[in-house]
Assembly symmetry: C2
Homo-oligomer: 403 residues x 2
């Protein structure tokens, strides 16, 4: 999909007390940036959400261990190699990365984390990465987010960046995020990574709960092809530089901050969908009236993951039968005769039957953005997910990548 050049925007934003950098160290053969660093002037409260895939890459395992402390001052990220399915050597390499960056920055041991993304099953070019770290640290700048956003890209067609600033509890508070991901083209260019930085002061457990909720409603509500990666990671660092009184759970400040964090995450998540390989449409599946929220989730995911539904939208075919069949096999409780379906407000199914609006429906599916509203007519359960369509180009990219 066509995306405006966001470079100038990225260059304009920063968060007090944070610096970022992105350089090329030679892991990517084409010379593109492949090593990024995020650094906080002081140890920041940290929270993380990691892949549920039972095959976890070495950097994920390392971070999950380090996260128990609840503090982090630097995150180093390489692209081009996932350091996954690499056994003991992989764990050693991940450890070498954090040690090298701690040494170069002169920060306390145990305060750096690491992410990797790229090919699965090959050993990391750890020597190249270690050699690159001095240059990486020297490049740190409060305006370095653009370079960092580029250095974490793999198959991404564009860098992903989002920023918000709000006055909460009398203080200006910023949230900045960068992300990578363009479908799960695992293992070669797998993985959704997101890194968030805020100057808010937040207690660790509260931050973890906030991040979990924001990730569920954004990155965990998008689907490009139903696969999940060995390396998926979302990290947030909160360095307290805004000088606010620590947010406590369920306060009004807490709610405002949660919403801001969620909006930033959702912006990034939608960019990942729009960058889905070969995507030509942004599809929003809005399920309401399911018996439970859990049922709504089943329906939304079954429909949004169906290759038949996705190819139909690519073909601009208002093919509601594929949607109702996907609802029926979702496992959710349903009464066929209660289901209504709308495409951008045009009814296509009413009470389980053809709404007779084929012509209007055919017109609206030509839009780039299509909101598919599914009313189950049963209860209060709801869930929204976003997905791309499935195009020739998806198959082409995924079949031909390594050849």
């Amino acid at each position: 999909m066509k995306i405006a050049n966001r470079k100038s925007q990225i260059a304009n934003f920063s968060v007090p007390g944070f610096k970022a950098a992105g350089i090329s160290c030679g892991v990517k053969k084409n010379g593109n940036k492949d090593l990024a660093l995020i650094y906080s002037a002081v140890p920041a409260v940290a929270a993380g959400v990691f892949t549920k895939n039972k095959v976890k890459a070495a950097p994920v395992l390392l971070d999950m261990g380090r996260m128990k402390k609840g503090f982090c001052q630097a995150v180093i990220i390489n692209s081009g190699n996932a350091n996954a399915c690499t056994g003991k050597k992989g764990m050693e390499d991940a450890a070498r990365m954090v040690i090298a960056v701690e040494d170069a920055l002169g920060i306390k041991k145990g305060l750096a984390m690491v992410s990797s993304t790229g090919v699965i099953g090959q050993n990391l070019q750890i020597d190249k990465i270690e050699k690159g770290i001095p240059k990486l640290v020297a490049s740190l700048s409060s305006k370095g987010w653009n370079d960092a956003a580029h250095a974490i890209m793999t198959s991404d067609a564009f860098p992903k960046f989002a920023f918000e600033k709000c006055r909460i509890g009398g203080k200006e508070i910023s949230v900045l995020g960068i992300a990578k991901g363009a479908g799960m083209i695992c293992p070669d260019m797998a993985t959704m990574l997101a890194f968030l930085a805020t100057d808010a002061a937040i207690e660790q457990k509260t931050l973890q709960a906030m991040l979990k909720k924001a990730v569920d409603n954004s990155f965990n509500s998008i689907t490009v092809d139903g696969d999940t990666s060995t390396n998926d990671t979302a990290l947030i660092l909160a360095n307290g530089k805004a000088g606010n009184k620590q947010f406590t759970i369920h306060s009004s400040q807490f709610t405002l901050f949660c919403e801001m964090l969620e909006r930033v995450c959702l912006q990034l998540a939608k960019m990942i969908v729009m960058d889905g390989e070969g995507a030509t449409k942004l599809l929003e599946f809005n399920v309401i009236g399911a018996k439970t929220d859990s049922d709504a989730k089943k329906v939304a995911e079954s429909v949004a993951n169906s290759p038949l539904v996705k190819t139909a939208f690519f073909g601009e075919d208002a093919n509601w039968g594929r949607i109702i069949a996907a609802i029926g096999r979702s496992g959710a409780y349903m009464k066929e005769e209660k289901v209504n379906i709308y495409f951008n407000g045009v009814p296509v199914v009413l009470k389980g039957l053809d709404a007779g609006r084929e012509k209007d429906a055919a017109k609206t599916v030509k839009n780039e953005n299509i909101c598919i509203r599914i009313e189950m007519g049963l209860g209060k359960g709801k869930k929204t997910v976003w997905a791309s369509d499935l195009s020739y180009k998806y198959v082409k990219i995924n079949a031909a990548y390594r050849t």
Copy 2:
């Protein structure tokens, strides 16, 4: 995929006491055959397995009701319209079909069943079907299976037919099957249908158990795109004309007949996979050593349904990382360091790590038939599933069908 012309084979086989027919009644606009009939000279013991999709087409609901009697003498099948999502009118139309066929054949009320396959959400052209029934009945012949196999086709590139004859308990016993299906291109050309006829004498509950097992190991072990239809149906009629002593459960005759039935179903199922839209490869995923059979099933289905795995095989890319990632997200218990993966006997992963046989693996994935063996190294759980690859043509067919 290239399939030999099976017409002559089909024409040669029949089952004592059964006749079949297939004609065109005008439901399909292109004039192709669209109405089939299977008839037993005497009321046959019947068993059926129906779609688990909560959205069930009218003929499925009608058959599920009639199946309670355990007897059937005729099955009428139309293609071109699924009679699904058609409400009360759909139920009335399905009832009219069975009544018309019972009248025309002069058989007892309640002994006919019906299946439909085709477009969802449009009313059946019941008048055309009723008008066609006299000609259909007049066409009945013991050699009519070829016409019937053609008349149930929708997007199928070729008719699907399988036959076996064995001596069991001193009697010659035949099993004949026809099927349709080529991926679940729901709703336009959805649905897997299979109709089996045997002259064995079998008690109804035993027949139902046999069919369920055979379907689980064949039609329920193939995946073209992970979708299931509103109309999926497998029916078997056993008319007892072979004159055998009724099979009892767990007898040696029972086992021999079960194996024969399973082989016939598996032949039909593999033809459906090979006819998967745009399929260029027949993939066999053979999972062994999982903790439980249920875990093995999760692994096999997660891998075989992954669009990334399927596109990789289309691209002839020996991309084992996509397979190990799909195992990891399957929900099955796993130990990464115990997993071995082989492509046609070539090890690609040993103990969770790259086996270093990239060159041999790259060579073997150029075959049309690829056996992917996944050893979990944990227990005795096993499961085999068959799948097609995912090609450009799949997207093309499914995006462009109604336009």
